[in-house]
Amino acid sequence: MDGSPAGTAQDSAAAAQAEEVEDPAAIAARDQAWTEGLMAVRAGMVGNRWVRLLRWVVLAVVVAILLVMARNIATHGLAYFLQTVVYGLAGGSLYALIALGYTMVYGIIELINFAHADVVSFGGFISLYMVTAFGFKEGVVNGPLVMVGLVFITAATMLLCGTLNVTIERVAYRPLRNAPRVSPLITAAGMSFVLEGVMFLWKGPVNNHYPDLIPAGAVTALGTTVRTKDALVVVLALLLMLALDTFVTRSKLGKAMRATAQDRDAASLMGIDINRTIAATFFIGALLAGFAGTMYGLYFGNIVFDLGFATGLVAFTAAVLGGIGNIRGAALGGLCIGMFEAFWNSYFVSAWTQVMIFVILTLVLLFRPSGLLGMRVPDRT
């Protein structure tokens, strides 16, 4: 502050006065700027100078990629483009279903449930087991009987997955709710490995064929084929997501879930049974996971024990992209990521798709950690 060497008493008094005069307005302004800056940094809106510079570089690269993609789209024609959109929608709705489970659990107990994607593949294995037990094969039994059987199998899978996930929460997460943050994360990774280990013991490292049971009809328009399974996956996933959204916004349990997510202690003081609410969240998330697992098998025709690993990473990226903790955000993020994957596979090299999705995850965390729709700003604890 005091740049001059020790001067006369008058000098220092004047300096003190000057400082005093400067004080109220300047300090208030500085405080204001500091607070705003801090909030902006927290929200991930502005970083330091380097982050801002990096932002322009990234923007330039993204624009360049989009230009190349536009050129590729133009050369490949409209039908190819629409077909890509169809694949993107179907894949995206599966990712959205998985992302919902991540985002709900993160929203309520701030835990990345690594085991979630393995619950999905476990669902696939359970339903495959039931499909085989019922003797369903391609072309052998067809018609309404198979559809009724599939509805039953899907429902049973969803319930089993729900029970499994609630058990996981009870055994591995609840006892550690007040432990250091890293502990439940480690048990989550451990549970993921336990599930993968069980599936590995069960079926070994091979790809398991999942019979294609959905009727093989297709509609062709503008050179684009929409198969029954494309339409079915998208429509059912959308219906489920609508149902979930209604449940969370309208029902009493949904309200309890939102309250617990906002402030666990306050919710508990209002008479909400926290343990029950959290268990319900895990249950509902796993219902969607069971559905997604069955659909994955039906849609792609094979499942493998470590399916959850790569899928989980993509689905979590979707959840972060949409805004973690935000249910509609997860649905939107899932669709975006599914679209991105389809477009990258169609117009660029598919070997780099996973790498690009990881790059998206890093960039979202760098520039907009609250995601596309996220109101809840991840705090910097």
């Binding site: 990345i112 006892p175 250091p180 994360l185 280990g197 069980v198 070997a351």
Partner: protein
């Protein structure tokens, strides 16, 4: 303290202490005893291995040198997870970066790349280069992530661990793709004094250019031992330093640490870069020893193996981590691979060959045993965290916390009764 207080037993002649010059070893200190046992075991190991196998101990000694790589990795991950409380699930990525650094800069590989010029830098210098490159990668990855809450680091590192081997596999022009890079240079010491200590009965003489090769397992073993010892000493000093205390403060309560004036972002970043550096160091050694790197050696399983090692041994406790690493290494590379054959022979001798035959979904008991790895790892992680969060040999901080919790519980009870 007045003389009226109850007299404590006087320290008197310090029992259980061995003094060697300036150093005194306290035999009542648990960590010291563990280190001492490990050191004696490590020094005696080559001789014992030779003795047990009747002079054919070479392969076992080489295996032990590989175990040292995992000890290094576990020590490094311990800085990130144990000291700073950050979960890194993609630790193998930095291992891969270190190994590929060595592979590219100490072999003819770069001659086949678009660069068309092979580089042969000595191993000893590349150890440092690998450390710097891995630490830089760690800092670049950590910088965007560590500004956010710690959980995100887990998923970002998980992704990074998945991506790095994939990049090495895809960038075939530079990295040899799926096949990886082979025929890497062996480390060379320009001068070495050979004598009875390197080969029983040989005369004392000076050798030029001592080459580390497969034919010379003891050399690798000694080198590994030296690197591990160096790392233990360095990391132990780091743990006791101001930075180490800051890491532990962040691990216990980040908000409180920040209030105490610790720059949490920088401190966490340093922990992360330190872990990455150790991993790169180990990667360089691994590449040189194997003389081959391929993307398959750095899969997610490696990361989780190292995590299992430190969780089992005791997060934050360096002797615990070393013991954990050795235990898991033994299980993973010796017991589990041998298990199917043992089961086969056991069933053959007892006559239960029926359950060894695959039929339907049942793959046979021997095959089933060989598939146990994932389940075993998962169970170790979950049960250790639930039943004994401190691991086999808990760190002292963990013991103190538990003791304090117990004491406060007793005080509560007494208060309630009285």
């Amino acid at each position: 303290m007045s003389s009226a207080t109850v007299a404590r037993p006087r320290p008197g002649p310090r029992r259980g202490r061995i003094r060697i010059g300036r150093f005194s070893i306290n035999l009542r200190d648990r960590d010291t005893v563990v280190y001492l046992c490990l050191a004696i075991g490590a020094l005696a190991f080559p001789t014992v291995a030779d003795f047990i196998t009747g002079g054919e101990g070479g392969p076992i000694v080489l295996l032990a040198a590989d175990a040292g790589v995992y000890v290094l990795l576990a020590l490094g991950l311990n800085v990130v997870v144990g000291f700073a409380g950050l979960l890194d699930l993609g630790y193998a990525a930095f291992f891969a970066i270190g190994a590929y650094t060595y592979a590219l800069m100490a072999s003819g590989s770069l001659g086949h790349t678009p660069l068309h010029h092979a580089i042969h830098i000595p191993f000893w210098f590349l150890l440092l280069v690998g450390v710097v490159i891995a630490a830089t990668a760690g800092a670049l990855l950590g910088a965007p992530t560590l500004r956010l809450r710690g959980d995100y680091l887990a998923i970002v590192t998980l992704g990074f661990g998945e991506i790095v081997p994939r990049v090495f596999r895809n960038a075939g022009d530079w990295t040899g793709g799926v096949n990886g890079l082979s025929a890497l240079d062996n480390p060379v010491i320009p001068y070495w004094i050979s004598g009875p200590w390197s080969d029983p009965g040989s005369p004392v003489m000076v050798i030029k250019n001592l080459v580390f090769s497969v034919a010379n397992p003891t050399a690798w073993y000694v080198l590994m031992l030296a690197l591990v010892t160096l790392s233990v000493v360095m990391l132990n000093n780091l743990r006791k330093s101001r930075l180490g205390r800051a890491w532990m403060a962040i691990r216990e309560d980040e908000t409180a640490a920040q209030a105490m004036g610790i720059n949490t972002v920088t401190t966490k970043l340093l922990a992360f870069a330190m872990g990455a550096a150790t991993s790169g160091f180990a990667g360089c050694f691994y590449g040189a020893k194997l003389s081959l790197v391929s993307p398959e050696n750095f899969q997610f399983q490696v990361s989780i193996t190292i995590l299992v090692m430190i969780v089992l041994g005791g997060m934050g406790s360096m002797p615990g981590v070393i013991v954990g690493a050795l235990t898991i290494y033994l299980v993973l590379f010796k017991i589990l691979p041998d298990a199917p054959n043992q089961v086969h022979s056991l069933l053959a001798t007892t006559g239960f060959t029926g359950i060894d035959q695959p039929h339907g979904d049942w793959p046979g008991l021997g095959e089933l045993v060989s598939r146990l790895k994932f389940l075993l790892f998962g169970l170790i992680l979950v049960t250790t965290m639930l039943l004994r969060p401190g691991g086999l040999i808990p760190s002292r901080a963990e013991i103190d916390v538990e003791r304090a919790a117990k004491e406060s519980a007793t005080l509560h009870q007494e208060g309630a009764q009285g």
